[in-house]
Symmetry: C2
Subunit: 340 residues, 2 copies
DNA sequence: CTGAAAGCGCTTACAG
DNA sequence: CTGAAAGCGCTTACAG
């Protein structure tokens, strides 16, 4: 049928075959109400028969690019892959497609990705900004003229924000442990200073205070291995061993649990551990992890929905949306051991 | 500085300020060697000062779109998120950007994504095709004129392929268990028929035979919960309990282990479990999981590299590339228990 | 080395 | 309802 010369078919080819003008084909392809039903059918048939593929790239005068960027710091963290899957799902269902950017917490690569997405003319970008975001990065974000929704972390940049009530989530964890009789409850994780960390921290401090307990924060990097090591140090010396750990997220909790088991401490009996996120594995580690569910998938879906509504209506997004968390009790938490 | 009327700046604006022609600006932006150094500097300064952002979308005559699609069946599986992170990394480093598509194993949505990526004029697509891929989907893939690289799964579609030596990987697992004295070794997982499943299956069968052992395959869906349930059924009755499980992947293994522990069986002593992939959590579950490392990240990097080389040189990709796996021994495997 | 002109494959008024 | 013309913001020969 077609020659070797791989020329991509154009709207004009379709027009010729269908016996209409280029404008009419264009209208049909975008499903305009202006065109007669018969004409539509003829055009669609011609396009189908020829194997024509619409070239959105050439539609530079169109209102939308149907591209939305999603920038996250670490796709490898199950929380973020879940979030990304949620975003992608909703975008796809609506005819949009996601441009992915994994920044690895590097503000340099975040900047690069952001610019490239801008160049590709994205209709919006959903971004969980890197913790090290310098002022200028934040400024650029707001000034760019891009429609941007920050998620999970809130920087100086004056854009819309979709977040989680971290403070309340941590309070749920502390309340749960306090009810079980724990008094030495350590907050594990979070070295850097950024909103998602300080909100957790403040939630922890104030809920410890409200129970009349003395807070203790042990900062650590958000990797399984770093958490494992920190916990080893923490329990190495006999004195001041906490009886419970509130972890920054499930990844930290899983690292911590592995370390405790290796030291011969039984999680859920000798030491209680609470995670944060309710990642897919949380239910299947040993013992199953008590955690604060942050509903990653729904969060992603929500982010995409907010952004799409705004794109389609040309309306601004609501400035701030906060989602609630919930406590999921499993076996990694139990009654506080008796004081020895 | 700029008015309210959010008109995006064009190359002409830059040209005017820099005092050169539009063509010259275009050449500078693409870093052509044709332009004098002084001119380049002047143009770049003007662009910078104005805050001009290149509009790649309008460059419809350019050779590349700088977009590469990556389509996977489940971003939520840590293996795929690792793979995707690898792809994204390499693409970003080279100035490309990834268009993400999560098909959720649905061939309908795979088709939609593929078409949308084609419409967006991607330079290539890296795809792990859905298992249910019908003939027509595969045909389309090959005929589309798109540059496509299939990864992990090989369909009828006649495109380049980057895969893993699954058969050998499974054989490594069986050899390991056989050396530990196991004879009742079950292959757990893989219901559907597609290359990555049959290759594992064949590797299992032939290596069991070579050890003079009787193979037994227990199909099950590739989710933690499904695996947990299948294992419960399998160990429910006293007779014919296997002493070792070779799992389709780590997700299955983690589900299986959770179930065994719940039944009071000690993994690594009563039952040995081998996973597949060496996912990040494998090292941190209890007990740490013996598994076959499929090097997901490197695989993704390799896929991106193959595709980029082909894009840049306009050369075809090598038809088939197969990567090797390696055995990682941890505590989930141990000597076969004595026959009771 | 640089610019004027034509072109890419669409969309958008506008006329009928 | 449909088509001819102009336009989008770039790139690409081509001339000098």
């Amino acid at each position: 049928m077609s020659d070797e010369t791989e020329r991509r078919l154009t709207i004009d080819d379709v027009a010729k075959v269908a016996g209409v003008s280029r404008s009419t084909v264009s209208l049909v392809l975008r499903n305009s109400g202006l065109v007669a039903e018969r004409t539509k059918i003829a055009v669609r048939e011609a396009a189908e028969r020829l194997g024509y593929v619409y070239n959105r790239t050439a539609a530079i005068r169109a209102r939308h690019s149907y591209l939305v960027g999603i920038i996250i710091p670490d796709l490898t963290n199950p929380f973020y892959s879940e979030l990304t899957a949620g975003v992608d799902q909703v975008l796809n269902d609506s005819g949009w497609i996601s441009l992915l950017g994994n920044s690895w917490e590097s503000s340099a690569s975040q900047e690069k990705i952001l610019r490239r997405m801008h160049e590709q003319n994205v209709d919006a970008v959903i971004i969980c900004p890197v913790t090290a975001a310098d002022q200028s990065a934040a400024e650029n974000l707001a000034r760019s003229g891009l429609r941007v929704l920050q998620v999970l972390r809130r920087t100086e940049a004056d854009t819309s924000y979709l977040g989680i009530d971290y403070a309340h989530g941590v309070a749920l964890a502390v309340d749960h442990l306090s009810e079980l009789g724990h008094t030495d409850i350590v907050l594990l994780g979070g070295e850097r200073v950024y909103s998602a960390a300080t909100e957790r921290y403040e939630g922890y401090i104030s809920s410890m205070r409200s129970h009349g307990l003395e807070p203790r924060h042990v900062p650590c990097a958000l990797r399984r291995s770093a958490a494992a090591e920190k916990v080893r140090e923490l329990f190495d010396k006999e004195e001041r061993r906490p009886t419970a750990l509130v972890c920054f997220n499930d990844v930290v909790a899983i690292g911590a649990m592995a370390s405790l088991e290796r030291m011969g401490l039984k999680v859920g009996r000798d030491v209680s551990v609470v995670g944060f996120d309710n990642v897919a594995d949380a239910e299947f580690v040993q013992p199953p992890l008590t955690t604060i569910d942050t509903h990653a998938r729904q969060l992603g879906e929500r982010a995409a929905t907010l952004v799409l509504d705004s794109i389609r209506n040309g309306s601004p997004m609501s400035a701030t949306t906060i989602m609630e968390t919930s406590l999921v009790v499993r076996d990694s938490t139990g009654k506080a051991p008796l004081r020895s």
